[in-house]
């Protein structure tokens, strides 16, 4: 075997890469999906069950999310779940394009990933701005 010339570039390797937005939206898609499934689903169930069970049961739900510490739990969990929803939704749509064979060019792949991040944050801010203005 010929001796290696250290001036030559190494071939791509699992441990050698540079972070990019496409990798961020990829892992965020999984993280937000798991978060909504294990945190969002029980909260949705609690909300629906509390509405169905009556005013007394609903009062407990309302107390935890809207009254404890000035509603801090509701704001933190609500903001987290809406951000998770909009990021997952945006990247989900991006994945439908990927399924159709589009957006695999480096530039478009990166731009669409950045668009997903921008959409997730913007939609969350606008949603809570609307809640604040309308209520």
């Amino acid at each position: 075997m010929a001796s290696r010339n250290p001036a030559r570039p190494l071939s791509p390797h699992l441990g050698i890469y540079r972070w990019g937005p496409h990798m961020l939206v990829s892992i965020l898609h999984r993280a937000t999906g798991v978060a909504m499934a294990v945190v969002g689903m029980p909260i949705l169930l609690w909300w629906l069950a509390a509405i169905a069970a009556g005013a007394d049961s609903y009062r407990t739900f309302h107390h935890v999310f809207a009254e404890v510490a000035g509603g801090a739990i509701g704001y933190v969990v609500g903001a987290g779940l809406t951000l998770a929803l909009f990021l997952h939704m945006g990247n989900g749509v991006r994945h439908l394009f990927l399924d159709a064979g589009a957006l695999f060019e480096l530039r478009r792949n990166k731009l669409s990933a950045m668009a997903v991040l921008l959409f997730g944050v913007t939609a969350t801010v606008l949603y809570w701005f609307y809640l604040g203005v309308a209520k």
């Binding site: 499934a37 629906l48 069950a49 169905a52 939704m89 439908l96």
Partner: protein, 123 residues
């Protein structure tokens, strides 16, 4: 659980290889429509007290889409968590986690659909 090869020769593929993949995409599409509807309905609720919440989903116009939303979202999350479990769990713990996942989803579905029905049909 294994089948003798002489019984499967010539039968070809099971033709169900894309079942999980396709249903995840199908529910992705229905989730997109139903969740957009849901966040608009929640945002437009005039208040978040019990009477308002009950009146909102007492209407068939909102009880039926909510019914569809729960069915679509819970099936989607069951398919998605299955992939996560299969990526990180192996051997016996994988089987246990997949069984628990089915219990989790079906129990959640029962609670949600019962609650929606009670809100819709209740006084």
């Amino acid at each position: 659980m294994r089948t003798a090869i002489r019984e499967v020769r010539g039968l070809g593929a099971a033709k169900e290889g894309t079942h999980h993949w396709w249903n995840q995409r199908l529910t992705a599409g229905s989730n997109l429509l139903l969740m957009l509807w849901f966040v608009v309905v929640v945002a437009r609720m005039p208040a978040y007290d019990h009477a308002t919440a009950h009146a909102t989903f007492h209407s068939a116009w909102r009880a039926i889409p909510l019914f569809l939303l729960v069915a679509s979202v819970f099936y989607h999350l069951r398919l998605g968590l299955q992939v996560v479990i299969e990526d990180y769990q192996h051997n016996e713990s994988r089987v246990v986690a997949l069984v628990l996942l089915n219990f989790y989803t079906v129990a959640g579905l029962a609670i949600a659909l019962f609650s929606i029905a009670k809100i819709a049909f209740g006084a």
